[in-house]
């Protein structure tokens, strides 16, 4: 009886060994592709590592390309001073050598559409886009246009009338940027930061002086 049990132990042990070392590896090998992967493990590793290295070198190359493009873009920025006007927030930025040296409040067009008799109408908006300084004035006079008289309810004088030239309302300095639009100083400093003008850009006295002294004929003004 004891003899029979011993043989049973031997046979069961033998079968367990076969199961662990033969059936399980067979099960593993039966998963599609795995048998081959195991057989070529060293080759696969080699291919994998080569692919990794190739990708890494491609990434290094692409990074240097992006870096060069970024540098090229930075070089495109003008080294000459320019003025940026944000007409939505009513803020100006004076940029010199790529650095903002002044950021301050301004006043831009009110977007009021003035309708007068005879189907005459004026829209008081500051133009948007890229402009250049066309003219520079010290102690500028304001040529009062028709709409200003209409707004005040006063009779409109002749276009040649000297009464139209009004001193001391545009501050000490003005820069023209085309179509009669100016960047100028103002008497109405409490309105700085608000859209109240008839299309010109109004600045505080100190800012206007700095802008006048920095920008030259042909300097760029960007308005958005």
């Amino acid at each position: 009886m004891v003899h029979k049990r011993r043989w049973l132990y031997v046979i069961s042990g033998f079968l367990a060994g076969i199961l662990l070392f033969t059936v399980i590896p067979l099960e593993r090998a039966s998963i599609p592709g795995n048998g081959q992967a195991i057989a070529n493990m060293s080759y696969a590793d080699e291919v994998y590592v080569k692919k990794l290295l190739s990708l890494e070198s491609q990434i290094r190359l692409e990074k240097s390309k992006v870096q060069k493009l970024e540098e090229r873009f930075e070089q495109l920025e003008s080294k000459k001073p320019y003025l940026v006007v944000n007409s939505s927030k009513n803020i100006i930025r004076l940029v010199v050598d790529g650095t903002t040296v002044i950021k301050s409040k301004c006043s831009t067009g009110s977007y009021i559409l003035l309708k007068a008799s005879g189907q005459r109408e004026w829209l008081f908006r500051t133009p948007k886009g890229k402009f250049r300084v066309t003219v520079k004035f010290k102690n500028p006079h304001w040529y009062k246009p028709d709409w200003a008289y209409l707004e005040e309810g006063k009779p409109i004088p002749s276009i040649y009338s000297p009464k139209r030239y009004i001193p001391n309302v545009l501050g000490d300095y003005a820069l023209g940027f085309g179509d009669g639009y100016l960047v100028h100083g103002t008497l109405y400093k409490r309105f700085l930061g608000l859209p109240v003008t008839h299309g010109c850009v109004r600045l505080g006295d100190e800012d206007m002086q700095a802008v006048f002294n920095t920008l030259t004929h042909g300097s760029k003004i960007y308005i958005y």
Binding site: K51, K65, L76, S78, Y82
Partner: protein
């Protein structure tokens, strides 16, 4: 003889322990399928491929910036990798604003479709149509036609632009749409966009909601992104962009 059997069982137990350990640690096959994110996280090659695609998108973005720097018009750039939305003209960054939050269409997030995204974003996008909850030009009318000599009786009609929630949709070329919204508290917005900040983009775009009470639903196409910026930035960007402006993205 008894010692032989004891030794035999000890050896057998050791062999079984080694085999079991080997099977469950080193040799056990991964039968559980991995999802795409797990694959990207775990496979260095997939990670590097992803990085390469991102660099390709970044390279296109900078190429477009340089190309558009020659143009004398305001162009709009959205760089999600840098969380910046910028307005540029002639190589000058006129305005830049931080992207506070964003959401992109599901198909733009899928790794498999990145090749298509590179193709779509290779060149700047044209703005085909636009819709906004705020007017482009906030015009107020002052009518003095009937009473020119009496300034006290001016007819002044202000708009409620300062209280309007800002939501802008650009329908662009290549089946791409860009939505810009101000960061706001729910309740400030009109009902058709009064949902959780970013899910509003998702719901509007993914459900292809064409309800008539949503005035801009036709402008949302299969490729879309929605960004959140401050109210004043949204207005400034929108008012500077015109029909000639081009839009460039880096996802």
């Amino acid at each position: 003889m008894k010692d032989f059997y004891t030794l035999f069982f000890i050896v057998l137990l050791i062999l079984i322990s080694i085999a079991t350990g080997y099977y469950y640690t080193i040799y056990k096959p991964d039968i559980e399928p991995l999802n795409e994110n797990q694959l990207v996280n775990e496979d260095p090659i997939k990670l590097l491929n992803q990085q390469l695609i991102d660099l390709e998108l970044n390279k296109n973005f900078w190429k477009n910036k340089i190309k558009l720097a020659e143009k004398e018009q305001f162009n709009f750039f959205i760089d999600l990798s840098d969380s910046m939305a910028t307005l540029e003209i002639s190589g000058i960054v006129a305005h830049s604003s931080h992207i506070l939050n964003y959401e992109i269409a599901e198909n733009l997030r899928m790794l498999k479709q990145k090749e298509d995204i590179i193709r779509i974003l290779r060149d700047p996008l044209h703005i085909v149509e636009e819709w906004s909850s705020v007017p482009k030009d906030p015009i107020r009318i002052k009518d003095i036609s009937g009473h020119e000599w009496n300034p006290d009786s001016l007819n002044f009609v202000p708009t409620n632009m300062d209280t309007e929630y800002v939501f802008i949709v650009f329908k662009c070329s290549k089946e791409f749409s860009v939505m810009i919204s101000q960061r706001a508290i729910i309740g400030e917005m009109p009902s058709y966009i009064a949902q959780d900040h970013l899910t509003k983009f998702k719901n509007l775009a993914n459900t292809q909601n064409k309800a008539k009470d949503i005035p801009f639903s036709d402008l949302i196409q299969k490729n879309w992104i929605g960004i959140e910026i401050t109210r004043s930035d949204a207005i400034a960007l929108y008012r500077a962009i015109n029909e000639q402006s081009l839009l460039t993205l880096c996802l």
